[in-house]
């Protein structure tokens, strides 16, 4: 069965802290994604990666960075957390090529920055 896991379901951090969100997929997928989801705004793409050490900015990359050192792992980094980064963070993956059947999502990490 397809599996995307995220390191934490709930996380509380203080303003200014450096925050790491980890995502691991066991499907040997080339593509991995980080989204944030906020009420009334739907899901917004932060960053994605189509290969190891490759990354591309999504719609809202400001305040975030990512790392993909291994194919199965994609990390989202908040360099200096701010209260407006309080959100649900969702990781996803999918294989390359046509007819890939959509993205597989993890359970999400609800981050609160105080």
């Amino acid at each position: 069965d397809v599996k995307v896991t995220q390191s934490s379901r709930y996380l509380v951090k203080r303003t200014g802290e450096k925050v790491f969100l980890e995502c691991v997929q066991d499907m040997d997928h080339e593509n991995m994604f980080w989204y944030r989801q906020d009420p009334g705004l739907g899901l917004r793409l932060i960053y994605f990666s189509y290969d190891v050490k490759m990354k591309e900015k999504g719609d809202i990359p400001e305040g975030y960075s990512v790392s993909r050192e291994k194919k199965e792992r994609f990390s989202l980094i908040l360099e200096s957390a701010s209260t407006n980064q309080t959100s649900m963070y969702l990781c996803a993956s999918n294989p390359s090529g046509r007819d890939r059947g959509g993205q597989y999502f993890g359970p999400g990490t609800r981050l609160t920055v105080t």
Binding site: V4, N31, F33, Y35, G40, L41, G42, L43, R44, L45, F48, E56, K57, G58, D59, L90, C91, A92, N94, R98, D99, R100, G101, G102, Q103, Y104, F105, G106, P107, G108, R110
Partner: protein
Amino acid sequence: LAKTTQPISMDSYEGQEVNITCSHNNIATNDYITWYQQFPSQGPRFIIQGYKTKVTNEVASLFIPADRKSSTLSLPRVSLSDTAVYYCLVGDENTGFQKLVFGTGTRLLVSP
């Protein structure tokens, strides 16, 4: 960006067929149409994807007219467990994932 428009919410009863329509007037030639389902406190789950005409799987059917400017997700005989938010996405991942835009979705409530 290929923007989509969906109803904000829909109500139904158990056993009924539910049709959720998504409008995507500026769909591009290479764009696919994908639908996801999301339950509270969970990530979205892929339901169905299509390019034209009709696609059916064990969960739903997707109807796409010839002009492809809209699509309809059809859920046969819904149950209480189908209460969720349904997202319609339009895009071609081969031209950039930035073009895959999740809107605010349609909140479906199924009642007994």
